[in-house]
Amino acid sequence: MNTSASRALIPLGIFLALAALLFYGLQLDPRKIPSPLVDKPAPDFRLESLKDPSRTMTKDVLLGQVSLVNVWASWCPSCRQEHGELMRIARRNKDIQFVGFNWKDSRPEALQMLKQFGDPYALSIYDPDNRSGIDWGVYGAPETFIVDAEGIIRHKHVGPIDAQVWEQEIRPIVEQYQAKKS
């Protein structure tokens, strides 16, 4: 009697395990796709500076210090949402190079947004035709890459950065690679 009672509980146990697994699956965001570029050298690029069309920027601008490469566009609402937080982070972390990767945007509108809400970026590169965006595996904005001093991508964050993402996800990795450099 006792063994058959516990045997009858097996299906219930299996059900609960399956329910827990599927419930966990519901918490995952299918839009967050891991990038195959993490721990690989950042793709090379030749793009105009957003602010100065006569200036060409290449991957060399990323070498020598830890950079945050933030893919954004003026048409992207989540980019506006994270903009204030980026301003705060940039102000407090002068030792990180903030690179704006302006993506599939128009120069006047992008510049207008920086004028209106402030410019957190030390450098701004301009990729209106998704020429380098494809090489970087960009499929939406905002996306943020952490690139170490050797120009190797160490992390990719998909979606806006808020205080929690910064403190828990991005900052520890940035500090890890800054420590490694010195």
Partner: protein, 165 residues
């Protein structure tokens, strides 16, 4: 979604087949032309088998997302340059990962995806076999002495009754 009226069945089948064809030959807004018609067919096949990362249940062929348009142009450009199908697929996988493929490749991180169902099937089969064998092996419930005596009594009584008839 089974049609209640049998008259609707042919219509439903026609709709189903139209929808199936629709997914494999999805239209695109841009016009892509190749000199060789077989290359056009290859191009259509390929973009139908690649997944759009923005709208994840759409193929590259079916999606009107701006990134999908960029990628269609890129695939077109590469095929115009004479790149093979594998080269195009490798190019996209290197940048966007296996997620661009509807058919994930067999490798350690996808073993559970590919072989999991067979594992569960084998496990289920094993448990079923064991349950059947256990049932067979179980001896018939033996009668107690008292029950045996009562059974003999009943059989004897029946025999007597039958004789009387």
């Amino acid at each position: 979604m089974i049609p209640r009226s049998p008259k609707l069945l042919p219509a439903a089948l026609a709709l189903a087949s139209a929808l199936t064809i629709g997914t494999t030959q999805a239209y695109t807004l841009e016009e892509f032309t190749f000199e060789d018609p077989s290359q056009t067919a290859n191009f259509r096949d390929l973009i139908g088998e690649l997944r759009c990362l923005v709208c994840q249940n759409e193929s590259l062929a079916g999606s009107q997302a701006s990134v999908a348009q960029d990628l269609r142009n890129e695939v077109y450009r590469m095929m115009q340059e004479g790149k093979t199908r594998d080269e195009v697929v490798d190019f996209l996988v290197a940048r966007y990962g296996d997620f661009v493929l509807y058919d994930p490749p067999i490798k350690p991180s996808t073993y559970i995806l590919w072989f999991g169902p067979f594992l569960f099937l084998a496990l289920g089969g094993f448990l079923l076999m064991r349950a059947i064998q256990r049932k067979k092996a179980e001896p018939e419930q033996d009668l107690s002495d008292a029950e045996r005596a009562r059974l003999q009594q009943l059989l004897a009584d029946t025999a007597v009754t039958n004789k009387k008839d």
